[in-house]
Amino acid sequence: MIKDYFSLASNNLKKRGLRSWLTLLGILIGVAAVVSLISLGNGLKDAVNSQFNVGSTQVLTVQAGGLNNLGPPGSGAVNPLLQSDTDAIGRLGGVEVAISRDVRGLKIDFNKKAVFTYGISIPDNQREANYVYQFADVKTISGKLIGQGDRSSVVLGNNFIDGTKNGFDKDIKVGDILVINGKNFKVQGILEKKGSFIYDNAIYMNEVDMKNLLGYGNVVDEIAVKVTDKSLINQTATEIEKLMRQRRNVKVGEEDFTVSTPAALLSTVNSVINGVQVFIIIIASISILVGAIGISNTMTTSVLERKREIGIMKAIGARNEQIFYQFLIESGLLGLAGGIIGILLGSGLGYLGTFVLNTFLGASTQPQINFLLLFSVATGSFLIGVISGLVPAIHASRESPVEDIRG
């Protein structure tokens, strides 16, 4: 019997083709937004977090000028950090090591083509260099990393290997010579793929080479500070702020520098993403609500139009509840159809979004399609349809055969 209701209901919906399609549009858009958001949602967070490498929980970052490390920092600061700041921070209790980091734009010539990218400095001190590699969690797939005393040689991010993508129309391998800002550098190593556009597109060179090449003296873009223990991170951050206020002669609240903890960075990034998600969910909810009202409206119209049909069915033996279920299932099917198409569209958008993230941000995230969740969404859509159709179905079931049949 239930199968018969479904077949009668789908028959009716098919006959009212265009109207059915227009009716399920609201649910469809809402569900598509929710599903794409979910399938992309955590992927997006992972991608963004991995881009900024906020994985290391023991590392603080100090920057000048209120800039943060979301882009090549430092050069724009009015009152830049200096090597002496790094040394002073390094002497604080609770600090295991403080390392100056420089990130600077570079021009690379190779195979008669020029590409602009940025270089990341590696300290000319093997202990500090090892820390930098540890913070960034990088390894080579060929050649070796830049170490103490290495000169005129560079290590390349993974994206430089492929000639079709690196902008030089030629694969680069260990041993190749690149001209960087007019000076020859030998490729000493190539890094493993990190899935982060910052690391995969960067050039790593000894800080001595970088200073000589660009002549920025004792200015430091960023100071990476590793604390001796995770639990000390906030306390150390406060002490660094105090020290820096003294050294830069600024009052509390007027800081022209920032000390970011990984947790703060993570929460900033995540709160932006959460804000976007909440916004999309609100829009999706409104869309679903409008969709539900649309279904209710369509079903009410349908009951009015089909009074005669209802009368006939009652005359030939349909009980009130049989009419009720038929209309209810019809309305549920409208919701379900909107839900299923929305799921397909939303999943498609999720895949597309992931593809865009991976292609343009160099991330390596996967769409998160949870089948239990999709099943719940489909069931939910059906239920929204059912609830929307409740009142019209009750009206339909109460129609009097006598009044309707002569029409």
């Binding site: 199968k3 018969d4 069915m313 030939i316 033996g317 509840e321 055969p401 049949i405 002569r406």
Partner: protein, 239 residues
Amino acid sequence: MTTIIELRDVWKIYNEGEENQVIALNNINLHVKKGDFIAIMGPSGSGKSTAMNLVGSLDIPTRGKIFLDQHNISHLSESDLAQVRGRRIGFIFQQFNLIPNLTAKENVMLPMMFQGVDEIKREQKAETLLKMIELGNRMDHYPSELSGGQQQRVAIARALANDPEVILADEPTGNLDTHTGQIVMKFLNELNDKGKTIIIVTHDPNLATEHAKKIYWIKDGQIEKVTEKLKGKWKTLKK
């Protein structure tokens, strides 16, 4: 012959006690015996349609009792009445009243669906009935693809779907040309010959006298007279 349907002292009053009160039926008594061919005759507004609704258990009386096989059905709920008429009474309407979204076969299957008959049996029965009314080649056509006469024959097949004792036809030839109307009436006569009880509601005295065995003449909500055909001659039973 056993009585199938009986209306005993039946009144149907609309808006009772209000200014616009309408007495549609005024103390009607009516007997339908098994195997009868009855016509309820009357001009427009006479109350014959109201009488048909009560006979067909589409409605319940304001006062009085209706018996179906000696069971009083005057106070049944709408759903219970639906079950009763679905099983016991087959309807044929002037407007054919087929469901436009369903094919001829699906229309015939519908009353069986409401009685919970399984799909295979429904399909077999519908096919048999459509072949019987010579529409075996039109089973998958939609009502809009059928002529008026063909639609009315599908309606007859639908009325027979649950094998009811009574066929109730409301102006069955009203929307058909004379020839097609005759074909439809021929089917009803054949069904009567096979033992089905037929009740037609009509305003056409020729149709009533030509086919029925007993005629209830209704006027202004009352039975004006009852005539019966005995040995080929009409005899007034009651005035």
